[in-house]
């Protein structure tokens, strides 16, 4: 220890060791940043990622009959991080022209039953509690608190793409579940 004390007492040696301490601090800092930024980034990135639209190809628009509601089945591939699920969905589609198409969720806005199209009356009718909807989705009768839920859609190169969503039943406001 005596020798060491005498060494460190020398000014040149003290300067050298002082510099060593600073250099160690800098290297540790850079190492911490090089590792720290990715570690923090890996947790922040997915947490603040925007929800991506999940478009599913449903049909060619030209294949849809004009003016008459049609049930369309399509494959919806949902994912939650690395968990992926493929589910077949059914929706009601009303085509008025090549560019004017409406897609309805097949779930009644009252309590979530599956409603049907009655060609004779020209209305959608829910068998559970008798809610009646017009072709444009408006409530014509029964306990339904809001019109039929429309689903997001886009038409690209003549193909209809639908984004599947579910909404809270039984309330006047259309709130996604």
């Amino acid at each position: 220890m005596d020798e060491r004390s005498s060494q460190s007492a020398q000014p040149a040696e003290a300067t050298r060791r002082g510099f060593f301490r600073i250099a160690i601090g800098f290297l540790a800092g850079v190492g911490g940043l090089v590792l720290g930024i990715p570690l923090v980034g890996s947790l922040i990135g997915p947490a603040f990622r925007k929800k991506r639209a999940r478009w599913s190809r449903a049909a060619a628009v030209a294949d849809l009959p004009e003016g008459t509601p049609t049930v369309l089945s399509f494959t919806d591939r949902s994912s939650d991080a690395y968990l992926r699920e493929t589910v077949t969905r059914n929706v009601w589609v009303v085509r008025r022209s090549a560019t004017d198409v409406t897609v309805y969720s097949p779930i009644c806005t009252h309590l979530g039953c599956r409603y049907d199209w009655e060609p004779n009356s020209g209305h959608f009718v829910c068998p559970c509690h008798g809610s009646v909807f017009a072709l444009d989705g408006k409530v014509l009768g029964g306990p339904a608190p809001r019109p039929l839920d429309t689903l997001p859609l886009k038409i690209e190169n003549g193909e209809l793409y639908v984004e599947w969503e579910r909404f809270e039943p039984g309330i006047p406001k259309k709130i996604p579940v």
Binding site: E3, R4, Q7, P11, A12, A14, T15, R17, G18, F19, F20, R21, I22, A23, I24, F26, L27, A28, V30, G31, L33, V34, L35, I37, P38, L39, G41, S42, L43, I44, G45, P46, R49, T75, R77, S79, A81, Y82, L83, R84, T86, T88
Partner: protein
């Protein structure tokens, strides 16, 4: 403020004196870069622990999600490529560093009294490190890891008397499955790290008790230096370079995507990682009943020598020149390990890569005609549907014992030329363009199957996969991948090649299978492609194979693929081709001779194999299936930034040094 906090803590626990105890140390002969190997190993261990814990934010240890969850981290999580890459390359670096560290300690004679305990704790750390490497390999549940663990646990099973019990304990049962993965996981992330930390504490405490051993030359020991900050700076410099080196490896040599583990895939030929190659080569010297000597005897002797070394070599002499026997022994040991590793690296185990998987691979005992037939069976892709001697698909009947089925030559020739002549519902492609001579050759080969091989020699004509050797038990049919919804399982009535219902028309394909969302291995996909696809789609998918009766007249090439399937987005591209692989397709045209077979729905290929094939087809079309979608900072740019930060630091430190010296001179004068 900071001093007050330190004082407050010091009054309650002796923090400062503990730090001093750890850092205030004189090093005989002064600080040296040669002494940085231990601290470099420790630095990489710290990186391993941090990146290991971080991977747990995303990884799940279940056979159905382990592979996907890790790949999600690698491709979809910002800096996931770096976190996993550092862990992967860090594991490799540790083995090298531990080896160099042991070599230095050995050469300096630092294991001798009174430092025996430091050495012994180090030997335990070495074994725990080997355990961590072994238990970490299967965690991704990919082909490499799965088969490494399968073979590794089978090796444990060769121990006399206790072997089977040890193997079962490691696997949680007879076969590799979920329990095996759970056990490896708990060992890797909890038990072994806890043991490692405990013995690391012993190792460091024992090291501090007697300090650095220093040079063996007395003259050089006169000068002394300090551990803090002299040696620590050298340690920090080496650790910084190591970190940069590991980042470079992550950026320029990303760990491979080995494809999901597939216990049923007989085309995968496992070969140990480089770190176990020496053992793999050693085993070849101990065939048959001597096997336990190689699997357990040699490693145990090695461990015993390491444990007893400080007690066998009791002389205080540390100069290597005066320890010729020790040095010669060490050199022979290192030379043997290096030589065996190189030999192992250059060896090619039997398998499809070596051309032995194909039915026409080895038929020395067959007639010339039957050999020609075997080649034809190979080139026509018959094993895409039929199993022959343990390899091939399961769409059609197993042909391994065809000679014992009692079918006439004419029946077989008719079946090949026009399968519908025997069964109108058969989906087997017809081969009307084969010449009579070719048909005879194929039938000669088929009639040799089973007859040419006495019972028990069924696999003699095809090199068995290496992994089958240690464990005769069949692999667990526990595919984590759920096949796509199928109407019903295909029946396979014996004696007739039909088995499947009609092919679904192209317009009514079902949803994509699970393979579409799995990142397969393009490398393994290439092997599968040669086995199952090349006979119709041409070598490397370049096409050119005629298909009489189809609208185009030829089977479409896959490289380049029809643009309607192509997408630069790997997920979309894989989904586009997946449905064809799952459900097959019938080419347009009046009467196409060949149809795309149904691989997925019939389970004739597993979803893992289909994922590998898809990765290969994407690769052939210039799309990386394992494309990093959210890198955070792109790998190479991150590397450049790290380098730039280091250069900046060097510049700043240069300025600081110049200023400090100038100030010191000023004060002195």
């Amino acid at each position: 403020m900071f001093d007050r906090i330190v004082r407050w803590v010091d009054e309650r626990i002796p923090l400062t004196s503990m730090i001093r105890q750890g850092l205030d140390e004189e090093i005989p002969g002064g600080a040296r870069f040669a002494y940085t190997l231990g601290s470099a190993t420790l630095a990489v261990f710290v990186i391993q622990m941090i990146t290991g814990v971080w991977q747990l934010f995303y990884y799940v240890p279940t056979v159905d999600h382990a592979y996907d969850s890790l790949n999600y981290l690698r491709t979809d999580v910002p800096f996931g490529w770096l976190i996993h890459g550092l862990h992967y390359w860090g594991a490799n670096a540790i083995i090298v560093l531990v080896g160099l560290h042991i070599a230095r300690v050995f050469i300096y004679g630092a294991y001798k009294a009174p430092r025996e305990l430091t050495w012994l704790a180090g030997v335990v750390l070495l074994l725990v490190t080997a355990g961590l490497v072994f238990t970490g390999a299967p965690l991704p549940w990919d082909e490499r890891g799965y088969w490494a663990a399968e073979v590794g646990t089978s090796i444990a099973g060769t121990v006399p008397f206790l072997g089977d019990a040890v193997k079962r304990l490691l696997r949680g049962g007879d076969l590799m499955g979920q329990l095996a993965l759970s056990r490896m996981f708990v060992l890797h992330v909890a038990i072994l790290p806890a043991i490692l930390l405990a013995f690391l504490a012993v190792h460091l405490a024992a090291f501090r008790r007697f300090g650095s051993v220093g040079p063996w030359d007395e003259a050089k020991r006169q000068r002394s230096g300090l551990f803090w900050p002299d040696q620590v700076l050298k340690d920090a410099i080496v650790a910084a370079f190591l970190l940069v080196f590991l980042i470079a490896l992550c950026a320029y040599a990303s760990p491979p995507f080995a494809g999901p583990a597939d216990p049923l895939d007989t085309s995968y030929v496992p070969k140990p990682e480089w770190n176990f190659l020496f053992l793999y080569e050693t085993l070849k010297f101990f065939p048959g009943r001597l096997e336990p000597l190689g699997t357990m005897g040699i490693p145990l002797i090695g461990i015993l020598i390491l444990v007893l070394l400080p007690f066998l070599d009791r002389s205080q002499e540390r100069n290597p020149v005066r320890r010729p026997f020790a040095m010669a022994g060490g050199a022979i040991w290192v030379g043997a390990v290096v030589a065996l590793t190189i030999i192992g690296y250059r060896s090619h185990p039997g398998g499809p890569e070596a051309g032995s998987r194909a039915p026409g691979g080895s038929h020395a005992r067959l007639s010339q005609s039957a050999r020609e037939g075997a080649t034809l069976v190979d080139s026509l892709g018959c094993t895409g549907c039929h199993t022959i001697n343990g390899t091939g698909g399961s769409v059609g009947p197993d042909l391994s014992n065809e000679s014992r089925q009692g079918r006439s030559r004419q029946w077989l020739m008719d079946q090949i030329r026009d399968p519908k002549s025997h069964d109108p519902g058969s989906i087997m492609p017809s081969y009307p363009s084969l010449t009579k001579q070719q048909l005879n050759q194929i039938v000669d080969y088929l009639q040799s199957l089973g007859a040419a091989n006495p019972p028990g020699e069924g696999k003699a004509t095809v090199s068995p996969p290496v992994r089958e050797a240690p464990d005769p038990a069949p692999p667990l049919r526990q595919s984590p991948v759920v096949p796509p919804p199928a109407a019903s399982s295909p029946s396979k009535p014996s004696g007739a090649i039909h088995g499947l219902g009609p092919l679904p028309p192209g317009s009514s394909l079902g949803p994509p299978g699970r393979a579409a969302s799995v990142i397969g291995s393009g490398e393994h996909g290439a092997i599968l492609f040669r086995l199952y696809c090349a006979s119709c789609h041409g070598p490397e998918g370049k096409g050119g194979i005629p298909n009489p009766g189809s609208a185009g007249g030829a089977i479409p090439p896959l490289s380049p693929i029809d643009r309607k399937f192509y997408s630069s987005d790997p997920q979309t591209f894989a989904t586009n081709i997946d449905r064809i692989l799952q459900y097959g397709s019938i080419p347009k045209g009046p009467m196409p001779e060949k149809k795309m077979l149904v691989f997925g729905m019939t389970n004739s290929l597993t979803q893992e194999e289909i994922a590998d094939l898809e990765a290969y087809i994407l690769e052939r079309n210039g799309v990386d299936r394992a494309q990093v979608l959210h890198p955070g900072i792109p790998p190479k740019i991150f590397f450049y930034l790290t380098m730039a930060a280091l250069v900046l630091i060097a510049g700043v430190l240069g300025g600081v040094w110049a200023r400090m010296r100038a100030n010191a001179r000023k004060n002195a004068s």
